[in-house]
């Protein structure tokens, strides 16, 4: 029962590199569309008694002068309208017109955020992410304080974490461009939860590397890392599996309102498992073997290896 995971390290770097690159290109091109919590505006969800066509609904909203509105059909007879901050009169006008056109309308959900609160929310979200990053950095440094070269372990754990966050952001940028998804406060919450989750996986694997290094089993550093990975592999996969099971249950049943959050968790759990198993330990080995140069020539040399 011996898998050679570390031997394929350059393949893993390549896969991650491609995914992150695509994400970064999308981020640079489309950016991250932000929801009303960060950029202010109103969201109005309305229900009708019978089914209503998306196109007709959209046309009606445009005819009312809301050319900036984003329309999402959440159920057969339920629509979500996102637009600038609505006054009471504007909202009443929309509802009157909709019920004149499509029959009895009921307001399922309404939320409206002023520019002032939106700016505060965005600021505080940035602060929270920064504080979380510092907190995790401190924790990782502390957790690896007894390792030989603790900085290396800490750095690799942070790289894994940034990797997961970048993938989540990239995927959301693409989803935003295709499906019109927008990031909200729950998205930030999801990203932070993923960061915590990802570090936790990496720490468990590094913990085992530490233990095995102390025991002194294994021919060289690369073998020790690989053994440790294999030993912890079923734990890594099983934990991800149980978490993924419940998150998928959330996705299937609870859906729409916390969709952003749940999808970030799904992406994050997959990316986090990959980065803890394939990326972070591989980087340790690359660092140990001083193979940085091969990042550039990886195509030629990685097949020779192993």
């Amino acid at each position: 029962m011996t898998f050679d995971i570390i031997g394929k390290r350059f393949l893993f770097f390549f896969i991650s590199g491609v995914v992150i690159l695509v994400g970064i290109i999308s981020l640079a091109t489309f950016g991250l569309p932000s929801g009303i919590e960060f950029s202010s505006g109103s969201i109005l969800t309305v229900n009708f008694e019978g089914p209503v066509e998306h196109d007709e609904f959209q046309q009606e909203i445009i005819d009312l002068g809301y050319t900036d509105a984003i329309i999402q059909q959440t159920r057969e007879s339920e629509f979500l309208i996102r637009t600038h901050e609505l006054t009471d009169d504007e909202k009443a006008e929309i509802e009157t017109n909709l019920s004149a056109r499509f029959g009895q309308v009921s307001e399922a959900q309404f939320s409206s955020v002023s520019p002032m609160v939106a700016a505060e929310t965005a600021n505080n979200a940035v602060i929270a992410v920064a504080v979380a990053a510092v907190g995790i950095l401190l924790y990782v440094t502390w957790a690896f304080r007894r390792m030989p070269r603790p900085l290396r372990y800490g750095t690799c754990a942070i790289v894994a974490l940034v990797h997961d966050a970048l993938i989540a952001l990239g995927v959301f940028s693409i989803l935003g461009a295709i499906l019109g998804w927008q990031i909200n406060l729950m998205f930030i919450t999801g990203v932070l939860a993923v960061i915590g989750y990802s570090v936790n996986n990496t720490v468990v694997i590094f913990d085992r590397i530490r233990e095995n290094l102390i025991k002194g089993i294994g021919a060289d550093f690369e073998a020790v890392v690989n053994n440790s990975l294999v030993e912890t592999l079923s734990r890594s996969l099983n934990t991800s599996m149980t978490t993924l099971i419940v998150v998928l249950a959330l996705f299937l049943f609870v859906g729409a309102t916390i969709q952003n959050f749940v999808v970030v968790l799904i992406i994050g759990i997959i990316a986090g498992t990959f980065s803890s198993v394939c990326i972070a330990p591989s980087m340790l080995v690359v660092w140990n073997n001083n193979e940085w140069g091969r990042f550039i020539h990886w195509t030629g040399s990685s097949r020779v290896k192993a």
Partner: protein
């Protein structure tokens, strides 16, 4: 060893029993808590945040005092609507948060908070013989006509709490009873109050000017100079108001004995009677005190209402933040979340049992314990559950087994190395501990930061809910994995099945 296990097991069973007693059924009253505390997004309701619009030269002390008065005023208005457990709070220095669970008419909620309020003074209508007119006097008539023909303003009829139950109004040439919403009044309600309810008509000066809050210069809580000092409200009128008030006072003073309704001046805010002091003197010359059996708080509140006539400062419109969730949507969310939680927990159990067999089964038992204990904690603390909070709880189910997975994997390794089952279990727990601790610390750090972020943000309730439930989940899961699963496993070891390591999904010898 075995005895110690038995004690721990008893303790676990006791906690489990306690948790079950607490949550079964969920809405029963246990230790003073009834049902789960559900957030606005689950029960439906309105969430508003307003920015107070102070003038530039308002001092900090003014702002503090005005904020307090505004909160009292808004609370009072909302109380009248009978919203259960409304939350009216100050946010920061100059913001007001209003949460109305179960109240989904956002437009009504907004006008309730934003309204400026109308303060007026009224007196009791008198008939030809100088006796007070009651609702019943009007109901006896076949065709309704005003009894005091000189007064054509609205008559207000009140219940014992001073809230209006009906109005007699003149519209065009028609005089009719209407209720608080302006609809024709319900006859049964009218009959019910016929004997007790007096007819309150506008109090007017000799030239017919209605005495309203506009004529009031100041009102302040003071203490009477009597032998037994009592809290009272001192009022001062504008010059013109003082004259009108004295004209009214003289008339009322001469209308009846002390203590009769004829001598009372009704102070009304938005058609609700705040107070009906007796007129003690025929002339006040611009000043007066309202005495009565008041507490200090009541005096302060009344003074506030009189002085502001409404909110002490306007609120900026539209609100900084507004949110409304319909009750049906909330109910859907709850149902879907239970479904997700139930299916999640069952799938995780199946996975654990398939993969780890006996330990997996024991971990599944521990998971049931976990679920019951968490719900009991949610109910007793109580944690306000939002949709995101339920998400955090469900997520924690998946993460709860992580500690078990770490331990079981370690146990399998120890078994493969040829240890006895008992030794493998102990080694598994001991060696896995550092990983369990370290891995949960990161989650708790993140929860702490999220909780902080959720607390400072106007719209942060979901984030806070998520952080709280996830943190509770992670902490409880460490306890269940380490104490509950371990005890179950130890007890299992002493039973007969221990020789069959296959039950632990390990083939001995094959490495």
């Amino acid at each position: 060893m075995t005895r110690k296990n038995a004690i721990v097991l008893l303790l676990i069973l006791a906690i489990f029993g306690f948790a079950l007693w607490t949550i079964l059924p969920l809405d029963a009253e246990r230790l003073g808590r009834e049902g789960l505390n559900l957030g606005l997004d689950l029960v439906g309701g309105v969430h508003l945040v307003y920015q107070a619009d102070f003038t530039e030269n308002a001092t900090d002390a003014d702002k503090r005092a005005n904020m307090r008065r505004a909160l009292v005023t808004i609370e009072r208005r909302i109380d009248k609507y009978g919203v259960t457990e409304p939350i009216i709070q100050q946010l920061g220095d100059d913001r007001i948060l209003v949460q109305l669970p179960g109240f989904t008419d956002i437009d009504a909620a907004k006008s309730l908070v934003e309204q400026t309020g109308f303060l007026e003074f009224r007196e009791v209508e008198l008939d030809d013989t100088g006796q007070p007119v009651k609702l019943g006097d009007y109901l006896q008539k076949t065709t309704i006509q005003f009894i005091d023909k000189g007064e054509t303003g609205d008559r207000i009829f009140l219940n014992q709490e001073g809230n209006p139950i009906a109005f007699l109004v003149k519209e065009a040439d028609d005089i009719k009873f209407v209720d608080v919403d302006g609809n024709p009044a319900d006859n049964e309600t009218l009959q019910q109050y016929a004997m007790d309810s007096l007819a309150w008509i506008p109090a007017r000066g000799d030239d017919g000017t209605h005495l309203t809050g506009d004529f009031l210069a100041d009102a302040a809580p003071t203490i009477s100079q009597d032998i037994t000092p009592e809290p009272q409200v001192s009022i001062q009128w504008e010059p013109e108001g003082g004259l009108i008030f004295d004209e009214i006072a003289k008339r009322l003073y001469n209308s009846g004995e002390y203590g009769t309704p004829q001598r009372a001046l009704g102070i009304f805010m938005d058609n609700t009677l705040l107070s009906s002091p007796q007129i003690l003197e025929p002339e006040y010359q611009g000043r007066g005190v309202i005495t009565g059996d008041f507490t200090i708080d009541a005096v302060e509140e009344l003074a506030n209402m009189l002085k502001s006539g409404a909110l002490p400062m306007p609120l900026k419109k539209p609100p900084l933040y507004q949110e409304k969730v319909s009750a049906t949507l909330g109910a859907d969310f709850i149902e879907m979340s239970w479904m997700a939680g139930l299916i999640g927990i069952i799938l995780v159990m199946l996975f654990m049992i398939t993969y780890y067999r006996v330990p997996g089964f024991l971990a599944s038992l521990a998971l049931v314990f976990y679920g019951a204990l968490i719900l009991a904690l949610f109910k007793l603390i109580p944690v306000t559950l939002t949709l995101a909070g339920l998400g955090g709880f469900i997520l924690s189910i998946g993460m709860a087994v992580d500690a078990n997975v770490l331990i079981f994997e370690r146990m399998k390794e120890e078994l493969r190395m040829g240890r006895t089952l008992g030794a493998a279990i102990e080694a598994g727990f001991n060696r896995a501990w550092s990983a369990i601790r370290d891995s949960n610390v990161t989650t708790i750090i993140v929860c702490g930061i999220l909780y902080w972020m959720g607390s400072v943000l106007v719209a942060g309730a979901p984030v806070k809910g998520f952080a709280a439930t996830l943190a509770i989940g992670v902490i409880v899961s460490m306890f269940t994995a380490i104490v509950v699963t371990r005890t179950l496993l130890r007890l299992f070891v002493v039973s007969a099945l221990t020789r069959r390591t296959a039950l632990f999904s390990v083939d001995r010898g094959k490495k």
